[in-house]
């Protein structure tokens, strides 16, 4: 493999075509993490609540969706979400949105990502909240704060700050997982890379330099490595800063969180 093998990058608008596809993956990751954080917070609060039924229901929900393959969820939703819901999505999406977002398939892809990641984040948040010393809650209570006030002004601001590094790690996993939506035919970087391998150098589609599959996907992999490596450095830095700020043991210990693969 030489540099000549990457000549296809400069052919036509191959490079731009792939980079724009990659941008769609990043957009999906950001949208999915924001929604998952909101849903995840709800799940974590339900699980920690004094209401037995809510707590058990949230616990079962989180444990089920955390332990299922993400691809299974995406493929199931792809088959199960009715056409009418997809049509509604397509109508609601404004015309200036990127093409991939206007497809009704995105509804299935995004729901799958949110279903899985909200469960994982709920567990991270629960651990973050539980890692606070008990005295914090007791002090809030002694000062006359209601449960709601204590949560809002004392527990959550501290607990959630502890989970920032873990959330960034989850964002890395999520960025990788966005490639799975290509399996339900959403056109992002994987699909676009395959288009490049099929069209570049093909005499029927304009000719030019051939784009070998191996090199094209090595390049796609490189894009992910650049973004995710930067994110992991950021996560590392945030963790160190958090350690300095709180002075003591700030490690949010979720079982094997740092080593999580998905």
């Amino acid at each position: 493999m030489t540099f000549a093998a990457f000549e296809w990058l400069w052919e036509g608008n191959n490079l731009r075509f792939i980079l724009e596809g990659f941008l769609i993956n990043l957009q999906i990751a950001v949208v999915a993490i924001v929604i998952s954080l909101i849903v995840g917070l709800g799940l974590a609060l339900a699980r920690l609540s004094a209401n037995r039924i809510a707590s058990v229901a949230a616990g079962v929900w989180v444990d089920v969706f955390r332990n299922l393959p993400l691809l299974l969820l995406i493929l199931f939703l792809f088959l199960w979400i009715p056409q009418s819901a997809r049509n509604t999505w397509e109508e609601l999406m404004p015309g200036w949105m990127p093409e991939a977002w206007q497809s009704g398939l995105m509804l299935a892809g995004l729901s799958g990502l949110v279903l899985y990641n909200s469960a994982v984040l709920a567990e991270i948040m629960r651990a973050g909240i539980l890692s606070l010393p008990r005295g914090q809650r007791e002090a809030a209570q002694a000062l006359g704060l209601t449960y709601r006030q204590a949560m809002r002004h004392v527990i959550l601001p501290q607990g959630l700050r502890r989970m920032v590094p873990a959330t960034v790690s989850q964002l890395i996993t999520l960025t990788k997982d966005t490639t799975l939506v290509s399996i339900i035919a959403i056109v992002e970087v994987m699909r676009r890379a395959r288009t490049v391998t099929a069209t570049s150098g093909n005499p029927f589609t304009g000719g030019g330099v051939e784009a070998p599959i191996l090199e094209v996907f090595l390049f796609v992999g490189l894009l992910f490595i650049i973004v995710n490596y930067s994110l992991s450095r950021l996560s590392r830095r945030l963790e160190i800063r958090e350690k300095k700020r709180s002075g003591s043991k700030p490690d949010v210990k979720v079982r094997g969180l740092e080593e999580q693969v998905a």
């Binding site: 332990n67 799975l180 796609v220």
Partner: protein, 221 residues
Amino acid sequence: MPFAFVDTLTENFDEFLRGFGTTVELVVVSFVIAMSVGTLIAAFRVAPSPWLQRIGGLYVEAFRNVPLLVLIFIAYPGLRRAGVEISAFVAGVLSLGLYTAAYVAEAIRSGVFSVSKGQIEASLSLGFTYPQTMRRIILPQAFRTVISPLGSLIIAMIKNSAILGGSILALNDLLKTGRVIASRTFEVIPAFLWAAAGYLILTGLATLAIRRLETRYAVKR
């Protein structure tokens, strides 16, 4: 009507069982690859040579930050097109194994570092040789710290193995079986539900096994 759910399982039981077996096979083979390569990379990362350390670091950063699906495209259509005759199964377990190896390496490395330096010094001053120190003092303790991260890696592998069946490799694992049955019988919900149940059995069993190991080898320091 509620029996339709059960019918989907009983009528296709052999097929589900075969898919379940394939998933177990994929996970076991990939895990063996991940453990061997991961241990090697971890050894690289703590080796005295800066070059080996650099190679180890490069491996971890590359394989950890790349999507598994990209690795599959490199390993299967990519290599085949480049003239390497690789089967879908081998490409699949290599992708999953090498991907997870990066995480295994990190888990083992942090396990070895978790044993304090004083223990090594104490052991050496008591007259243990270096290999004896490794075998009797460091590794038994490192093993205990590594159980829990390795456990979550196995669970992640079970989940990630579905990507092998769902991607172009089209290996007949549990997810693929569920999809095939769903499209043949139009019983989408039951077919996926039983496939999901299969995965939950595997991840559940793994969780229980790890918990038992953890309590058995609980670190007493």
